[in-house]
């Protein structure tokens, strides 16, 4: 656990959180082209299915950002774990920006985050008492998110959008494996840990 946290810390130093959102916006470079290509039927209706799916995904990112925020403000996290949480949160913000941008480019309106009180209930924050509880919540959330992205890919109208989801799913899977390792859990033996 210590080793992981230490190495993450040095990575935080190299990557820098501010670089992340720029990189995430770059991920959607092809979306305007995509919108044009698929826009033979003009208007939002042509993309409504994709817009809805991306907005649901955006809702997951809002929830993740808030979960890490609640964790960060809880005072329950050691410094190394806090750094890790903030790094992951920064990447979720990158996903949020990317998804919101894609929704707009398809002609839709990105959903907003809910308020803190709603997340306190929906994430069952009352059950959180220590650092391990927070790590477990994050671990479950990251696994669910990776699986959610993988599961919606076949429903998306374009491969470019599916690729965006694959990129995000890979980030969530990386978060999950670091959290799993930090918690000292064993990795599953069989192939296809996700999906």
């Amino acid at each position: 656990m210590d080793k992981i946290i230490t190495s993450r810390r040095s990575m935080v130093g190299i990557a820098g959180v501010s670089v992340l959102s720029a990189a995430a916006i770059g991920v959607l470079g092809n979306v305007p082209a995509l919108a044009r290509a698929r826009g033979k039927r003009p208007g939002v209706a042509a993309h409504q299915g994709d817009i809805d799916i991306l907005n649901v995904a955006l809702g997951l990112e809002h929830e993740a950002i808030e979960a890490y925020q609640i964790g960060a403000e809880s005072g329950l996290l050691e410094k190394g774990v806090l750094d890790l949480a903030l790094l992951f949160q920064g990447q979720h913000k990158g996903h949020r920006d990317a998804l919101a941008g894609a929704v707009r480019q398809l002609g839709g309106t990105p959903v907003n985050a809910k308020n803190r009180a709603d997340y306190m209930v929906s994430l069952n924050i009352a059950a959180i008492h220590n650092q391990t509880d927070i790590l477990r919540l994050a671990q479950a959330h990251e696994r669910g998110a990776a699986n959610a992205y993988i599961g919606v890919m076949p429903s998306l109208g374009g491969r470019d959008l599916a690729q965006v989801c694959a990129k995000i799913a890979a980030d969530e899977a990386a978060h999950w494996s670091l959290l799993t390792s930090a918690l000292g859990d064993k990795l599953p033996g069989p192939a296809f840990m996700f999906g």
Partner: protein, 137 residues
């Protein structure tokens, strides 16, 4: 694999029989697949748990009691117009079709998530069904 591509006639027969059972019938939609509620709980946590909880509306509606409930009626959840105006009850067959491809079953729904594996669908449906039974639905 081969078998799946060219189903034996008796399998086809069973599928047809399954489809024609009354909607509330207990026969599994995919023949030969018995759902296991305990495995289904794990499938649920890993695959549905990012968007759904049993007792809270999240990105998706709360699920306790959904088996046997009319579609689009979890209190307080803002459904898509499509699911809101759906006129069916969630049973084995409808849930199986939904999880294969929600937008094919209810065009215009906002759930795009698909669970491709029939066994895991059977397991998660068994889990939802058990919860409904326990809740007295």
């Amino acid at each position: 694999m081969q078998k799946l591509q060219t189903p034996a006639p008796w399998i086809v027969g069973l599928v047809v029989a399954g489809l024609t059972l009354p909607a509330t019938g207990g026969a599994p939609h995919t023949p030969g697949l018995q759902g296991d509620a305990a495995r289904g709980a794990q499938v649920y946590a890993a695959n549905c748990g990012s968007c759904h909880s049993l007792d809270a509306n999240r990105v998706g509606p709360a699920h306790r009691g959904v088996f046997g409930r009319k579609a689009g009626t979890a209190p307080g959840f803002a459904y898509s117009p499509a699911l809101h105006s759906a006129r069916f009850v969630w049973d084995q067959r409808m849930l199986d079709r939904w999880l294969q491809n929600p937008q094919a079953l209810v065009p215009g729904t906002r759930m795009g998530f698909r669970l491709g594996d029939p066994q895991r669908r059977a397991d998660v449906i068994a889990y939802l069904r058990q919860l409904s039974a326990a809740a007295g639905h």
